[in-house]
């Protein structure tokens, strides 16, 4: 009966039993894993011998718990494991290959949505195209918030002191510059002017890739009473006048159709996508880009089927154009909207309005739109990666709406701030393609830790079983196995790994298969350590009495090796396992750092540091490597501490005289 029960014991139960025996002693093992309990058991409850024996493992466990630092390290590692394996499941918007050109290389900052308190009661306009937002109060004062230091040079986009006190009438922000029109009609610009974003420096006049600011604007400014719209694109700016005159300047490489807008005087509205300037000419029957075939299909909803623009409009006129980076929302003269262009994958659909409700105003961010209806309700739709298209439902009586690049703001009739929603900023900064470093650290941790853990499991499976065989059987088997182990351990690890992973790279594998191959290679190269310690332990254990007893009882050799000896040497394997895990993680990060292990876009703690090998990048974008390497070192220290402490507490020699 008992024998049958033992046979049916599955592997997990067995491991749990070993664990209990190891950490809590034979008493608990008997108590919890009792097999085939009978009535006589309860009767024969004589003082159990095993109750008085404190197992060495229990003693070690007690000694471990006494060391505060080691306990903290243990908890930290467990927490890290939980975080990196559980949190990614909740990061629904995360994607490995996410890139955002307007948000790259940003330092840690969470103020992208915090409107300055002085501005909150007096908002005239808010605009943004990238990491910072600019706001204008009715009193004509300019405020800037968000990431104000940009790029490798740490250029400041705060308003310069000398024009701080000038009353502004209009203000707009590009990705790295701000343009303002003063009440005197003069045009002010600050931020980067490398691509002719403002001013008339010699480079912008000479370069064919740059359209410099028109000279009469630069010298005399504009008639501020007749300015209809000031808007900024990626590195370009447009001013639209009441009479349809339009002034455009800036980087022509990002806006190759800029020439088509120069000197035109029949423009009703103008805006910038990421690659095109889009406008409406006086015919108001389509999107004017100067290029045929662009934006000539329209639809009412993101999910709807597109129609030819001419058929769609059916005589209606376009009154307003609002462009995100790739799509355009047109406001028609009957209060409905038309959508054209490409929409990103995770979009919120256009809301269905109630009877009698129509769109009064629409503003576009970089991916999303925010719309105000005649009843004062606010809706957002479009790209929702930073939750910028999820407008709070409780907004009433909004009079004006504004959008930042990834934010929306609602303002009431007095110009008072009601609410804002969208993107706050990156807590640990962004990398060189504009991805969130915190998210990548978490997902990279999952990959790095998985690789480490699986590699160690493979090492253990190969090393321990070969070590057991070698140690227990001895003779030529022993010699053969240990010779092979010797050859494996004499190979220099990193160079061989480099070569093998470059071989793997030649095969056509999916990313996950590649990852698996890397784990296998790590495991296959690392097993000799386990084989050596297992064999050494076996040689000791073979001479011990319980093995002799088992042999005398005629237990099969293989059963003695795996069932009698293995559970007793598990402590030593445990120590080696922790240290090998840290080592495997380090090898993986090293390989990925060199570009041979886990490759972009899959994140790993190693390949996130690759860019930091460039001294200039390491200096200017410190957040791109400090956090990642910090956590890498921290986890390494914790795991090594655990391993060291387990070894210390297991070793009677070292713990007795402490």
């Amino acid at each position: 009966m008992e024998k049958k029960n033992r046979k049916s014991e599955n592997i997990f139960r067995k491991l749990a039993r070993w664990f209990v025996r190891f950490f809590m002693g034979i008493k608990y093992e008997e108590k919890w894993f009792k097999t085939g309990s009978t009535a006589s058991d309860a009767e024969n409850k004589t003082p159990d011998d095993s109750e008085f024996i404190v197992s060495p493992a229990k003693q070690a466990f007690k000694a471990y718990v006494e060391r505060k630092f080691a306990v903290v390290a243990f908890i930290v590692v467990i927490l890290m494991f939980l975080i990196v394996f559980i949190v990614p499941n909740f990061m629904t918007k995360y994607s490995d290959s996410y890139t955002e050109v307007t948000l790259k290389n940003l330092p840690p900052n969470l103020t992208m949505m915090s409107v300055p308190s002085e501005l909150k009661n007096d908002i005239k306009t808010i605009d943004s195209y990238g990491p910072f937002s600019v706001g204008l109060s009715n009193a004509g004062k300019v405020y800037v918030w968000g990431c104000k230091k940009l790029g490798a040079s740490g250029m400041d986009v705060n308003i310069p002191d000398e024009i701080k006190d000038i009353k502004m009438a209009y203000v707009a922000a590009g990705v790295d510059h701000i343009i303002a029109i003063g009440e005197d009609g003069k045009i002010y610009g600050w931020g980067s002017d490398r691509f002719g974003q403002y001013g008339r420096n010699q480079n912008s006049i000479d370069s064919s890739a740059i359209e410099a600011m028109p000279e009469e604007l630069y010298e005399n400014g504009v008639d501020v009473a007749h300015v209809k719209k000031l808007t900024c694109g990626y590195q370009a700016t447009a001013i639209l006048m009441d009479d349809g005159t339009v002034y455009v300047w800036g980087n022509k490489q990002t806006y190759p159709n800029m020439d088509n807008f120069l000197g035109r005087d029949d423009i009703v509205d103008i805006d910038f996508t990421l690659n095109y300037i889009v406008g409406i000419d006086s015919k108001q029957n389509g999107v004017f880009t100067g290029t045929r075939g662009l934006y000539d299909m329209a639809k009412t909803k993101i999910g709807a089927k597109s129609e030819k623009m001419f058929d769609f409009l059916n005589g209606r006129k376009i009154t307003e154009i609002n462009a995100t980076t790739s799509s355009i929302c047109l406001l028609l003269d009957d209060g409905t909207i038309a959508l054209t262009g490409d929409f990103v994958a995770d979009c919120i659909e256009v809301p269905t309005l109630a009877e009698g409700e129509y769109f009064a105003d629409i503003k576009a961010g970089n991916y999303h739109y925010t719309a105000l209806t005649n009843t004062g309700k606010v809706y957002s739709f479009g790209g929702d990666h930073y939750y910028q298209a999820e407008a709070p439902a409780n907004i009433k009586n909004a009079a004006k709406i504004f959008t930042g690049a990834f934010q929306s703001y609602a303002v009431d009739t007095n110009g008072d701030y009601i609410d804002a929603w969208g993107f706050k900023g990156f807590p640990l900064g962004s990398d060189d393609v504009g991805a969130n470093i915190l998210e990548r650290i978490i997902c990279g941790g999952r990959i790095t830790m998985t690789v480490g853990a699986v590699a160690v499991i493979i090492e253990i499976l190969i090393g321990v079983s070969l070590g057991l065989i070698a140690g227990y059987y001895g003779g030529w088997v022993d010699i053969l196995i240990m010779r092979i182990a010797e050859v494996f351990s004499s190979l220099p690890t990193i160079p061989i790994m480099l070569i093998l992973t470059s071989l793997i790279a030649q095969m056509s594998l999916t990313t996950n298969q590649r990852l698996l191959m890397i784990m296998v290679v790590l495991g296959v190269l690392g097993w000799p350590g386990f084989a050596n310690i297992t064999r050494a332990q076996i040689l000791v254990a073979r001479e011990s009495e319980y093995v002799t007893a088992a042999q005398a009882m005629g237990v099969r050799e293989s059963r003695i090796a795996f069932k009698h000896i293995l559970p007793n040497i598990i402590s030593v394997i445990l120590v080696s396992m922790t240290l090998s895990f840290a080592a495997a993680m380090q090898t993986e990060t090293g390989l990925s750092f060199l570009g041979f292990g886990v490759n972009y876009p899959q994140p790993s703690w190693g390949n996130m540091l690759t860019k930091a090998s460039n001294a200039t990048a390491a200096k200017n974008f410190w957040w791109q490597w400090v956090f990642t390497s910090g956590i890498l070192i921290f986890v390494g220290v914790c795991i090594n501490t655990i391993g060291d402490t387990i070894r210390d507490v297991m070793d009677p020699k070292s713990s007795s005289d402490r």
Binding site: R483, E486, V487, S490, L491, P492, I494, P495, I496, L498, I499, S502, L503, Q506, A582, Q586, T589, G590, F593, L594, G595, F596, G606, L609, A612, S613, A615, T616, A618, K619, W625, S629, L632, I633, G636, V637, I639, N640, T641, D644, K653, S654, D657, R658
Partner: protein
């Protein structure tokens, strides 16, 4: 003793043959076909002088010619391997392999691999030996001192340093050092082996080179400290708890004699393999250091050749590594005999 060494050398040769054969078979899987590319190149040159109908046959002819020249006119891996070794004749009846001194041809550098590798090995060995000597000179006294004064503030401090250092991947140490000494303090150049555009000679050249390799050397030394301190201390601790130490102390020997002639001799035994391994791994170069500093050593060579898929070069580097690994094993065993009188190798 002599017999033992001969036996070990024969064993090394056997393992070497098996391993290189395995590696060779692995590289056969790679999509590199020198004969095909060369035939293609020559074909490009001849294109206009040959009629279109004859091009295919001409190409096949050229392809076969190059295959025979490079000895790839068969699919039998064993024959290819023996040709590579120089034990099987090529199509024209000549032997041309490792035994004849032909280690292969680097596509990337368009030169025999031996001439490519030469300067790199030299560079790696110079910087490696210097840093290894410094590492040992720092870590051995420090490790001994920590073990002797265990649990003092000094020991705890060094232990904390070595724990953090041991857990830090070497490339992070290099990033920090480059940032500190090159970017912020500006004491040393960021990378390279000589001032760009300079043409120094004599003493000035030596000075310039030294200035360039100073930071890599410091980095190598620093990244090697933690591990060596840890193992030296651990093995010294084990040695200090031996019975013979208690006896020596009971005899009234001086502290110095106890530590250096009794404990250290015992502690050295497990360390031998680490020290010997450390010296032999120099030849493999320090990949992280070299790729970050652009130091022209074996690591950088391997790194670049794996990126450009220069298979003959990788194969030869691989062969060197395997060979060095096996020789290091032999030397370690011999050193055990030197260090530990109980080990009688001649037996």
């Amino acid at each position: 003793m002599g017999r033992y060494i001969v036996k070990r050398i024969l064993y090394i040769l056997l393992v070497f043959a098996i391993l290189t054969f395995l590696l060779f078979s692995l590289y056969r899987l790679m999509p590199a076909n020198r004969a095909y590319t060369d035939a293609k190149t020559e074909m490009q040159g001849l294109k206009n002088s040959i009629a279109a109908s004859e091009r295919e046959t001409k190409f096949d002819e050229l392809y076969l010619k190059y295959q025979r020249l490079y000895g790839t006119d068969t699919d039998n891996t064993l024959i290819l391997y023996l040709r590579w070794l120089g034990l099987y004749p090529y199509y024209d009846g000549n032997f041309n392999g490792i035994f004849q001194g032909n280690f292969g041809h680097s596509y990337e550098y368009n030169a025999p691999v031996v001439t490519v590798i030469g300067p790199h090995i030299r560079n790696s060995m110079i910087i490696g030996i210097v840093s290894e000597i410094f590492i040992l000179a720092i870590t051995i006294p420090l490790g001994i001192k920590c073990a002797v004064k265990r649990n003092t503030h000094f020991d705890r401090g060094v232990q904390a340093f070595s724990l953090v250092g041991f857990s830090t991947p070497s490339f992070i140490i290099y990033i920090l050092f480059i940032l500190l000494f090159s970017s912020i303090l500006g004491w040393f150049p960021v990378s390279g082996m000589k001032t760009p555009g300079s043409n120094y000679t004599g003493l000035k050249m030596v000075g310039d080179t030294l200035w360039h390799i100073a930071l890599p050397t410091i980095c190598l030394i620093f990244s090697g400290l933690a591990y060596n301190i840890r193992i030296t201390r651990a093995s010294m601790l084990d040695a200090l708890s031996l019975d013979c130490i208690r006896t020596a102390r009971a005899k009234g020997l001086s502290q110095k004699a106890v530590i250096y002639s009794h404990a250290w001799r015992n502690a050295l035994i497990p360390l031998v393999s680490v020290f010997v391994g450390g010296f032999f791994s120099i030849i493999g170069g320090a990949i992280f250091m070299e790729s970050m500093f652009g130091f022209k050593g074996m690591g950088l060579l391997l790194f670049n050749s794996t990126k450009t898929a220069d298979y003959d070069l990788i194969m030869f580097i691989q062969v060197i590594f395997v060979f060095i690994g096996l020789v290091a094993n032999l030397v370690t065993d011999l050193c055990y005999g030197l260090v530990d009188p109980r080990v009688r190798i001649s037996k």
